[in-house]
Assembly symmetry: C2
Homo-oligomer: 415 residues x 2
Amino acid sequence: MQIAIDGQRLWSSLMAMAEIGATPNGGSNRLALTQEDAAGRHLLIEWCEEIGCQVRVDGVGNLFIRRPGKRNDLKPVATGSHLDTQPKGGRFDGVLGVLAGLEVLRTLHDHNVVTERPLELIVWTNEEGSRFAPAMVASGTYAGVFAVEETLARQDANGVTFGQALEETGFKGNLPIGEPQLASFFELHIEQGPVLEEEELAIGIVTGVQGMRWFDLTIQGSAAHAGTTPMSYRHDALAAAARLIDRLYTHAAYDTSGDTKVTFGCLEIDTPSRNVIPAKVSLTVDLRHVVEAQLDTLEERLHSELADITNTFGVAVDLERTWASPVVEFDKQCVAALEKAAKCQDIPYRRMMSGAGHDAVYVSRVAPTAMLFIPCRDGISHNEAEYSTPEHCALGAQTLCDALIANANSLEVNA
Amino acid sequence: MQIAIDGQRLWSSLMAMAEIGATPNGGSNRLALTQEDAAGRHLLIEWCEEIGCQVRVDGVGNLFIRRPGKRNDLKPVATGSHLDTQPKGGRFDGVLGVLAGLEVLRTLHDHNVVTERPLELIVWTNEEGSRFAPAMVASGTYAGVFAVEETLARQDANGVTFGQALEETGFKGNLPIGEPQLASFFELHIEQGPVLEEEELAIGIVTGVQGMRWFDLTIQGSAAHAGTTPMSYRHDALAAAARLIDRLYTHAAYDTSGDTKVTFGCLEIDTPSRNVIPAKVSLTVDLRHVVEAQLDTLEERLHSELADITNTFGVAVDLERTWASPVVEFDKQCVAALEKAAKCQDIPYRRMMSGAGHDAVYVSRVAPTAMLFIPCRDGISHNEAEYSTPEHCALGAQTLCDALIANANSLEVNA
């Protein structure tokens, strides 16, 4: 038996939420724990209390909104995402996952359905990391990755601490960090990439999150006159960087599965001049792969290409790994639950790995977790132009609804 | 019969001149038509008048310092270069060519030798182009490449015109532009490149100046998320630039003659971010070759590589040629005169093309011209660390002396 969510109501909720902190070009600006973010949370709470849900807040402002089940001694099945946005964010990133959860609760309320387990709609604080770095800090705190005191002491650009912002907005709660424990967690999100749209699929069943490694690289050659220095006497730092970029890019592109990703986002020449051979180039390297061992291999490839340009161009290289995020594999049963829900509705879907980080990554450390994606136009996100169709939002919410109900009625899962 | 120049005296003159506008790290700062430049000129004039030479100044401040010959109705044989420097210039760039000419005049004076033709030591104004753009503007005016009024109206960074600076320093002369016409012109200069030093040669006989073409290039791709965008969906402007740079660099390096030169001196990513695929990259391209037809071929190669990256990366390119300087071939007889002088002394030398522009380039349009180079340490120039040994300076001056005397005693040349 499938209970149908109300796609029009979901869309109206999304559009109503977007009015809070609305930006001139159709996006939203609700930086974490500002008055706008607080207003968004209050609107959500108002909607949830209308249908009899109970709101609790933990010590880092995470909202846990409970719809009781028949067996409230059991761990809840949970869903959610975040309501905070980038400074010029869109209407869907994070918000969709929260409001689709609300739509599920409303649908159950409409149909007077009470699940065996309680359901929990969660709003994680400061997912974006735009106001307080790093991103996903509150779900990370919930999962024990960050110490509470450390999180509360984090400062924004004006020196306001996370703790002060919680007090000012009234979202410093009493629920102990790490509570409630969850039977499972499902997060619906826009893809923030082009794959589903290009492949004309409505749903991505997210089986995990790719691993990522960040590097800062400096290449040191020698400055010399472009007119008087024959090629064989040069130590051209930019030409060496170009060789490296081209080699690694070609290597990644050769993997047509799309699982290998290589990006050089920043490149700067020290003291550039049109007729001087570049002496020093600084650049960033971003390596990603869905398999940890393959990420190791990719990093080895980076090292071997660096050795090659060192020899070929007579340059010195300095490579520093500044960050690494390991591959995350989501829970197989949770993935299967989402896949079953998509299949039952005949929704065209594919399995995929997430290319971006999400709260679900940290939650997956302490609870069985999976995610689902819907397409977003041109893969654009973190941008006022971010857009997903009402139809895709509804299909995502329906799949989420079906999986949540199935899991909440199962007493087997992680009781 | 060879008359020996005095290498020690030449070196002392170089060091004395370097004291005018001396910089903390051993260089000189005599920007064109400043008080320092004027002081340098006055020192030279004092030295020349001591040995009976006559000074004339043309309408753009070029100095013509004559040592009469037996046949003053004939065109003079000339040598010279410039005394102005970069803001943090060295002690040799330009200065050597002027003071080696002075040393030749002094040597003739010491030996009471009077040549058939008069000799003319020339100081060209504002060769560097650091104060008034473009470089070599006054030799260009002498040669008819630039209109006098245009040159006089050129402004420095403070809005002072070339004409005002001439008046203020007292170097606005009466000699008509283009006078005197020259039987031949020889310019001694430091190489400003690494070839002679690397090949352990004391003299470069310069047969011409390579051609050069400058381009501004923009590559337009699309910004996208480094984590969520598979390689096959990317339009990475930096990766496209890297392919272009690597291909053209490799092509140039493949020509082991050293005649092909390709430099990308500037490269800038618009709005760089470590985890965003670069959407737009702007760069400069500098192509050089000693053969004009080969320079055409090199430019065609640039176009074909651009077509290739356009197809491969799905980017748009915008290429603008901002400047072109054709290949210059110096006068065969003048080149032969210098080569004969080097050979007679058993100086290890090679023929070579100049990679940089010099006053001789413009002079070669109106008079038979050639240049000779001596090595400079590590090829460094336009830098306080610029250095040539006293021995190399002396060998250069001796070669210049021999060629000047031979030409000044020949009545055949371009009479």
